[in-house]
Amino acid sequence: MSNIAVSLQNLTLAYGDTIAVPSLNLDIIDGELIALLGPSGCGKTTTMRAIAGLMKPRSGTILIDGKDVTKTPANKRGVGLVFQSYALFPHLTGFENVAFGLRLKKRPNDEIVQRVEAGLELVGLSHLATRKPSELSGGQQQRLSLARSLVMEPKVLLLDEPLSNLDARLRLDMRTELQALQRQTGITMVFVTHDQSEALALADRIVLMKNGHIEQIGSPEALYDSPQTVFAADFVGFENIFSVGLNTQNEGTTIYNNTGELTLPYQANVSHLAWRPGGVVVGSGPHKGVVTGMAFAGDKREYVITTSAGKIKADVDVSVPAIQIGEDVFFDLPESSARMLDDKATQTQFKHG
């Protein structure tokens, strides 16, 4: 069994009277790259701040390397944090920013110089050591911030939305770089993100959070292919989600959402069914609808089909001739591409009829 780097036990976090995270339990394995994923307000940042020691838990325990650090102040926890907007010290050069923590520890000067240079080299910033943060680009600032945390050799490195402030191309570079750094240093990394594609691409394991609860934990593949709840399915791109009605006849299944219902020719003994837009078949099938929206997206066309059960999103390969807005189409919601969800808790999400 692998070592546990961080263990959160019955952790309750609150701002004044508002409970942000009620009783969270989570084990983070040594050396893994784990993502706390969820929409804003789900408690992921709060959880991260509690691990760092920037926020006092209402109750519960935080263990780092098996030691109880719940009452240890932030400056003695040995946790690194790369802030969303980097939080570099504006009055210090790149070198001095990285050296900051080592100087506080009163390390000998030789060692500081050597470790800072190694740190700057690791993130590829050796040539910019004398610049002030304001003279660096966003990507460089982020790498400087990384180096500043890494030279302290933290037991855990926390990253707050590490890619959100970068433009699209840098984001890809940084993704690769972060993964490489993690393999190279073997440091346990926890990052917080609201972007599912970022979590899927980067993490070894994803913790999907909602309202302070863990909705699902698993590998990116598991989360992507087998979301366990309606929320998880929605979050990883199953955009067409229906409740399954109680069906007395044995011939099929009635599915419905807020606006209407459809009857499928097969049986499903689950609470919900969900399809990605790519899983919807357009052009043939037992159901009829009207195309009310179409967007060209390079390799595919994204249709909105209005049906008796509301709007359905469907992606069709670009090689298929376009269907014009206003045309009637047949479509199918096949059993093969359906994600069957047994999520009784979410049953009430859709109104009947």
Binding site: L54, P73, N75, G80, A87, L104, K105
Partner: protein
């Protein structure tokens, strides 16, 4: 371009009204004669030099300097933590505290001076100098809090958290990370406080005793007795002092951002 000329004329006229008197003061002080006049009766530097010979001016200059420097420094010592608390913490009763701290700007100085004289100096036997010092500190405090707050607000809060995570305790985080970054704000507050305190009259009006007078009060008293150009010369010198300080501050810090 008729419009440009009209606009130049308007600006020129306004500036003449605002700055002209100051230029007249400079020249009136340059008079070679013995009475205040413009244009001066001949040019000489004698009144500018004579100012330094007046014993009471020297004494009151020292007092005013002490009040301006000491009062402003004291105001900063208690004002910087206050500004920090107002900007960073969610203090109970924050609005009331802000109003209390801003009060010395709104309450007319003459009232403050009189109140301190009557209820501190007389019954508690405070010296006039101490009362002046307290009054000038209180007067400058709102400016210190306001200017330092402005520069704290421009500073991200997460750099302090970053410092703590790198091993600082709270005090170290403040001295190593916050203080260096609000240094120019503090300096700007000092200069603004210095100029405000040094030029202050109404507060000091009642707070004067034998041999204890601030410079502006001393000048007012001198004017009542003599009508020679030395006050003009002194006024000009003081103006140059203030302008010089502010000018250097503007060049080095971009002072006007803070005012």
């Amino acid at each position: 371009m008729g419009q440009t000329w009209a606009s130049r004329l308007i600006i020129f006229t306004t500036l003449l009204f605002l700055v002209g008197p100051f230029i007249i003061i400079i020249f009136a002080g340059l008079s070679a004669g013995s009475s205040l006049a413009f244009p001066p009766d001949g040019l000489s530097l004698k009144w500018y030099l004579a100012v330094f010979e007046v014993e009471s001016f020297r004494q009151s200059f020292v007092l005013s300097m002490f009040l301006a420097v000491g009062g402003t420094l004291t105001a900063l010592v208690i004002g910087v933590p206050a500004a920090y608390a107002i900007c960073r913490y969610n203090i109970p009763g924050a609005e009331t505290i802000k109003i209390i701290v801003a009060a010395p700007i709104i309450v007319p100085g003459i009232i403050v001076g009189l109140a301190l004289l009557r209820y501190l100096v007389v019954p508690l036997e405070f010296t006039v100098t101490l009362a002046l010092f307290l009054a000038h500190t209180a007067l400058v405090l709102p400016y210190a809090v306001r200017v330092v707050s402005a520069s704290l607000q421009n500073l991200r809060t997460d750099i302090e958290e970053a410092a703590v995570l790198l091993g600082c305790n709270r005090l170290q985080a403040f001295t190593k990370v916050i203080l260096p970054n609000i240094r120019s704000g503090i300096l700007a507050a000092f200069i603004l406080g210095f100029v405000t305190s040094f030029n202050q009259v109404p507060v000091s009006l009642f707070l004067s005793g034998p041999g204890v007078r601030t410079l502006p009060i001393d000048m007012l008293a001198y004017m009542e007795i003599t009508y020679d150009p030395s006050v003009a010369a002194l006024s000009a010198l003081l103006a140059f002092l203030s302008i010089g300080i502010v000018f250097i501050a503007e060049k080095t810090l971009g002072f006007s951002r803070y005012v």
